[in-house]
Every structure is written in C-alpha cells, then in structure tokens.
C-alpha cells in the first residue's frame, strides 16, 4: 500500500485533477494534501476530492513534506507536485516499482521537459564537483520522488528550493539505494528570470551546505576555485550568446529627445534662473556643478518635478524612430546628466529600454537636494577615454553590461558634454548642435529637429 503526499500552495486550479489522478492508480490507499496555508480554496477542493488535508504549521515545502511524512500510515511514500496536470500515465507505478521490488530505497522521477536552466547551469556543475556520484542524474531537482518512510524520517529538510536536491544528497550520503526513473513528458512552465536568481541561490546553498557537512569536507579551496572559473566562463558564454549581434543606440536627453533643457524649465517654473546661470558661469567642475544644481531643487515634490517634465515637448518623431530601431534589433537607451526620475519618465514615454542618469534623493516625497552620482559615470583604469567624469564611462558601462561592442553603438548628442561619447561610439551623431567641434567629431550631423535621418545608420 502506498501513501501519496501532495504539498500545495494556491493550487486550486489543478489540485482536484492531481488527487483524481492518484486515486486512479492501483495501490494508492492514502492521499495527503499538505496545504501550505493557501490564500485560495486549495484546501476546500482537496477535502471535497476526499483527500486527507493537513494545514501546515508554517510555510515552506520542506516543513510540509516533513508533516506529510509524519502523517503517512504506509512505509512507501510518493511525493507529487500539485501544479502538474496532466501527469503521464503510470507515473506512480513507475516511481514505486523499484521500491516494491526492493531494488531501491529512494526513487527520483525524471521527465522530458521544456526548461531547466537552474538544473543545467547551477545544480549539475556543482554536483559534478562536490558529489560526482550524483552527476549522472538528469534531473536532480525533480520534485517527483518516492521512498521509504524510515529513510525519509532520518533526513533534515531544507525549507526552500533546496529541499529536493537536499533529499537526494542525504539519501546518497546515507548510502540508500537511489534510482532515477523516466516517467515521460511533462509540460512545466519556465520560471521568470527574477525567480531563477532565488532558486539558484537556494539550490547552490543546499549543495554546498551538504558538502561542508561531510567529514572529509568535500568543499576544498580547489573546488571553490573551480566553481569560480565555471561561473566566470558561464557568465562570459551567456553574455556572448545573449547578444551575438546586438546593437545599441543611446540618446542624450536635454535638447535632444526633449526640445529644451529640463533644469531650465524647472528654473523658470521655480524662479531660480539667475542662480542657475550664475552657477553655470562660476562653477567649471562638472561634478560640483551637478551637485549644486541639485540643491536648487530642494523641497520640490516628486509631483512638481514630474508635472514639469510632463509639460515639456519631445522631438516629434522620436517614438516612431525608436520603435523602428527596436524592430531592427537595437537596444535603445538614454544617457543623461539629468535625474533618474526624469530620465525614467522620458524612457517610459518613448519606449526606450534603459535610462542612465544621476539620482536625485527624495525624503517623504520631497527632494533633499542631494544628488547621488552613479559610479559608472566615473573613470576607471579601463575607461576608454580616461576622463574622471564622463558620459563615455556610462556608455562603456552599458556596453559591457549588455555585451554590445562600442563600435556597434550609435550615440546621439547635442552639446559639449556629448563630444566624447559621440567620438567613441561606432557612429556618433551631432543633433541640432551649436557646438562646431561636436560637428567635426561626429560621424553624421542632423541639423533639423527630426530623427528620421538616423534610420539610415541602422
């Protein structure tokens, strides 16, 4: 006789089908749904489907599994995920046959599936180094498992994404007989990128913690170095593959995308124009100038600042041109010495991919007047131009981040501040500029407020 345990959290859409599937399998005498304090009707539906329902004492898959094991009345236990529908036929049979025949103490279900990035990029490389005996498992993170209650009771369960790999490693360390059985094809949704980071961290923590716990401490300095090399190389390959043919176009914001300068509009609206002009005349250091201009905005609310930008005019065909560039595979961004609040607003309006600017600090919705200058505007020994504070440094940063060679970049600017960025981009464009040197430096000059000629460069 078998017990099937189904840990579930907010699975009202599929739980009934999974319970019915279990009931259809011969040999299943007990179905336990451990409800992880769902906010939907999972528990009610499970009760209606005649499963034994336990409400978990605390959230977390590990705790739910442990509670299920304690409640199980049979020696052979099968764990199934609550969100898979349909399961391949005979899943339970395939998982339990080696146990019933006394050929194994623990069985891991593997299945053909459409994704498995954490398995391939994190779990398998780590297992190969730290637990080579488990490196042959095709799906070490699979949650479909079956085993003997006496073995499960000896295990410490992780309470996160590390739980399944933790069980496998514990079984292996206990010298239980472990088998992997293919149960067929399962349609499994890929996790979003945000969730992958958390999952990767928890899976790697589980593997490394188990390795450290061993008597001979499998995690040596050499292993740590190997992991670093793997991680670095993986990162390189990923970056290369992600953007093999990627190109980028970056725009200055003031007097380029916008028909005027944002700070000038603020100066007119809040009445600090003379102070602004005086600052510009006296202060030649761009860092101090940026900081001092920020002070002029002290106590202005976010709403006031956004109200000004929302009333400013943008270049007529900028949205169409950006859409066109995006269709041609370009990454589109803004690099500005203005503020992130404003640059992000403009980014949203024009449909760009990113905006890089300075951070005007706010407290209780009001500007403190302090301006935080992001580190990527500052020069480093690798800086191509060598300037200590320059848009080219920011351009280099975004190019490295997105793995776009600078020679594949188009940079569009209008004033002295943009000379360097326009010079270092593969194709620099001077847009309606009054600066004759920028015109000399640029690859192309556009003298009318119209971005369409840019498309010829794409």
């Amino acid at each position: 006789m078998l017990t099937v345990i189904i840990p579930a959290l907010n699975e009202e859409k599929t739980i009934a089908q999974v319970i019915n599937f279990c009931r259809s399998e011969p040999g299943v005498s007990e179905i336990i749904v451990v409800d992880d304090r769902s906010e939907d009707t999972t528990a009610t539906i499970a009760r209606e489907a005649k499963a034994k329902v336990i409400i978990s004492a605390a959230r977390g898959k590990g705790i739910s599994m442990k509670e299920g094991i304690e409640a199980a009345s049979n020696e052979i236990i099968v764990f199934l995920d609550a969100d898979i529908d349909p399961y391949p036929e005979k899943t339970i049979n395939k998982l339990t046959t080696p146990l019933l025949n006394n050929e194994a103490d623990f069985v891991k279900g593997a299945f053909a599936r459409n994704a498995g990035r954490v398995t391939e990029l994190v779990a398998k490389p780590l297992l190969t180094i730290l637990f080579p005996g488990l490196s042959h498992f095709s799906q070490p993170l699979s949650g479909m498992i079956a085993g003997k209650k006496t073995f499960f009771q000896k295990i410490e369960f992780f309470n996160d994404y590390g739980v399944d790999i933790g069980i496998l490693i514990d079984m292996y360390l206990m010298k239980a007989r472990v088998q992997e059985i293919n149960i067929g094809y399962i349609e499994n949704k890929s996790k979003p990128w945000e969730a992958l980071g958390k999952m990767s961290r928890e899976v790697s923590r589980a593997i490394i913690t188990k390795a450290q716990g061993q008597e001979n401490n499998a995690l040596t300095m050499e292993n740590a170095n190997s992991l670093e090399v793997i991680q670095r190389e993986m990162n390189n390959v990923l970056r290369e593959n992600l953007s093999a043919h990627q190109k980028m176009i970056v725009f200055d914001m003031d007097d380029t995308i916008l028909k005027s300068r944002y700070i000038n509009e603020c100066a007119d609206a809040f009445g600090f124009r003379p102070k602004l002009e005086e600052l510009r005349f006296n202060e030649k250091d761009p860092i101090i100038l940026t900081k001092r201009i920020g002070l002029l905005l002290r106590n202005r609310t976010m709403d006031e600042l956004l109200h000004i930008i929302s009333n400013m005019e943008m270049a007529d065909n900028i949205i169409e041109v950006i859409q066109n560039f995006k269709q041609k595979g370009y990454l589109v961004g803004i690099i500005s010495h203005s503020y992130t609040l404003i640059a992000n607003y403009v980014k949203q309006q024009i449909g760009a991919d990113f905006a890089v600017a300075h951070q005007l600090e706010f407290f209780d919705g009001k500007a403190t007047g302090e301006v935080n200058l992001p580190s990527y505007f500052f020069g480093s020994p690798d800086s191509v131009c060598g300037h200590s504070f320059c848009k080219t440094n920011a351009l280099q940063h975004v190019c490295e981040k997105h793995n776009v060679p600078m020679k594949n970049c188009i940079a569009v600017g209008d004033n002295k501040d943009d000379r360097c960025m326009v010079a270092y981009a593969g194709k620099g464009v001077a847009f309606c500029t009054k600066d004759d040197l920028l015109e000399k430096i640029a690859y192309k000059n556009i003298r009318e407020r119209n971005f369409e000629p840019l498309l010829a460069l794409a």
Binding site: K407, C420, A423, Y424, L437
Partner: protein, 290 residues
C-alpha cells in the same frame, strides 16, 4: 550626400584595434613590419593578416605552383611568429591573385582592417618611388592608416607622437593619436609652421587641442616651427625631441622639399628613421542632413 561605408570608415575609437594588415612580398622589409604588427597585437589583442598578392610575372609563368609555394611560405612565417603573440590576437594568412593595389583595397574593405603596416626597404630608388606612391594611394583609397616602418623604427612603444597641423583640424589623426596615446601613455605634439600662424591657423591649433582634451586625457603640447616646409620642419622637430611616431596625411605638405625629392616623390616616411603613419585627412562629419 551618402558615402560608401568604406569611404566613411572611422579610425577605431573604442580603445581597440581589431585587424592589422601586413602585405608580404617575402623580402627583408616584411620582418620589421611583422615585428611591429606583433607588438601592436600584443597591446591591443588584435588579429594580424599576412597577405601576399601574386604579381603579374608570377601569374604569367607558373600561376598555380607559385601560389602554392607562396602559401607554404606564409604558413612558415605564421608558425615562426605565432609564438610571439601573447594576447588574444591570431595570425591569418592569405594569398591573393591580381593587381596588388586592387586586391589589397578589396581585402581591407572585405575584412574591415583598421591599420596597414608596411616595411620600407633600405635605400633603393625605384622601390622608394613605387612604395611612396603605394602608401599614399592605399591611405587615400581605403581611408585606413598606413604605418611605414624602417629597420631602425622598431621601438616597442609610441611615447611621443608628432602630429603636424595644416589647414584644418586633423580629426582622423587625432582619433588614432588618442587611441595609441591611451594605450602607450603618450604625449601628442601638435606642430604647425609659424609662417602659417595667422589667425585662422592659430585657431585650428587651439581647436585641435580642445578636441583632444574633449575625447581623452592624454597630454598635448603645441609648437610653432620655423621653416618653409612642414614635412621638413616636422622631421627636424621629431628628431630633436626623439619622437616615436609621426602622423601625416598624404597631401603635398608632407613631401620633403627640393627638386630631387619632388622627382622621386620622397615622402616624409622615407626621410625619417622614425615610424610614420599616413592617414588620409578627410573630414569626419561628411554626411550632413539639413
């Protein structure tokens, strides 16, 4: 006005040279060109392309065998120099058939070369005339800088770069100078003739200085030189300061004075033991949309 991509080719600014072409004719002068290419490859992690173009004589007489033998020689050269490459660059070899100049221009265009390095033979009048013409033509036709190296020019850095200014801001030379200057921590010396130092020329020198400061932090010094010929004065100045590189453009100003020099087309490259890079000076911002 639309220009072809070749005509508008920029001197690379992204802190990197990607491809260097070394035309190979299996004479002694190839050695120092390849040696210089390897130095640059090790600094910029760029690829070196060794290209031999079979001449008309070889084509008439034993075309296939000659091409095979040339390729074999190139393989030997590649094996010999491969060990000296310690960066990420590699050596590519090719044998081309046809008109030398045309084939080189096509190759430069097709494989996106950033620099051509050519060795200059020791004194040989005919070769000098031929290679002087070919350097200027190649630089003009491809807009790719052509670095001419003599046996004595094998310094392994470009600490002092002399850049003569005449008429307009030498944007392409400035771009190359800042690229090399950033890598070798060089100083750039702008020089102009005092006789040209009227208002307009002084402004050009100032503007050139401002351009360099706008796009880099390399140190720059400006000098007004005495004399009547910019090439001659530049050469004398370069010798005096012990310069490592002179950047010229292939126009009349950069031909050395004197009837004999004019008849034999003696470029500054030939009068100088200092390496000379020839960069065609067409204005960068050629495409203007109103």
């Amino acid at each position: 006005m639309q220009l072809s991509s070749l005509q508008l080719k920029l001197v690379p600014m992204s802190g990197k040279l990607y491809n260097i072409l070394v035309p190979v004719d299996f004479t002694a002068k190839n050695k120092w060109a390849i040696a210089k290419a390897i130095e640059l490859s090790n600094s910029f992690h760029c690829n070196i392309h060794l290209v031999h173009v079979t001449g008309r004589r070889q084509r008439i007489f034993n075309r296939n065998n000659y091409a095979e033998a040339a390729l074999e020689k190139l393989v030997q050269i590649k094996d010999l120099y491969r060990q000296q490459i310690c960066g990420e660059g590699s050596i590519e070899i090719s044998v081309l058939n046809g008109n030398r100049q045309k084939q080189l221009v096509n190759y430069i265009q097709q494989y996106d070369m950033d620099l051509v390095i050519t060795g200059l033979p020791k004194f040989n009048l005919i070769q000098r005339i031929v290679s002087s013409i070919s350097i200027s033509r190649l630089a003009k036709k491809t807009n790719v800088p052509v670095l001419a190296i003599r046996a004595s020019g094998l310094v392994c850095h470009f600490k002092k770069i002399v850049l003569p200014v005449s008429g307009e801001i030498p944007m392409r030379q400035i771009r190359l100078a800042t690229l090399l200057g950033r890598a070798y921590k060089s100083t750039v010396y702008f020089v102009s003739l005092r006789k040209h130092a009227d208002n307009k020329n002084e402004q050009i020198l100032d503007k050139a200085l401002e351009v360099v400061q706008s796009i880099s932090t390399i140190p720059v010094q400006c000098f007004l030189l005495e004399g009547q010929n910019l090439a001659k004065s530049t050469l004398e100045f370069s010798k005096k300061i012990n310069a490592d590189l002179i950047m010229v453009n292939p126009i009349k100003d950069f031909r050395l004075p004197g009837l004999w020099n004019r008849i034999t087309n003696k470029l500054l490259s030939y009068g100088s033991k200092i390496p000379v890079v020839t960069v065609a000076q067409n204005n960068m911002a050629t495409d203007t949309t109103r």
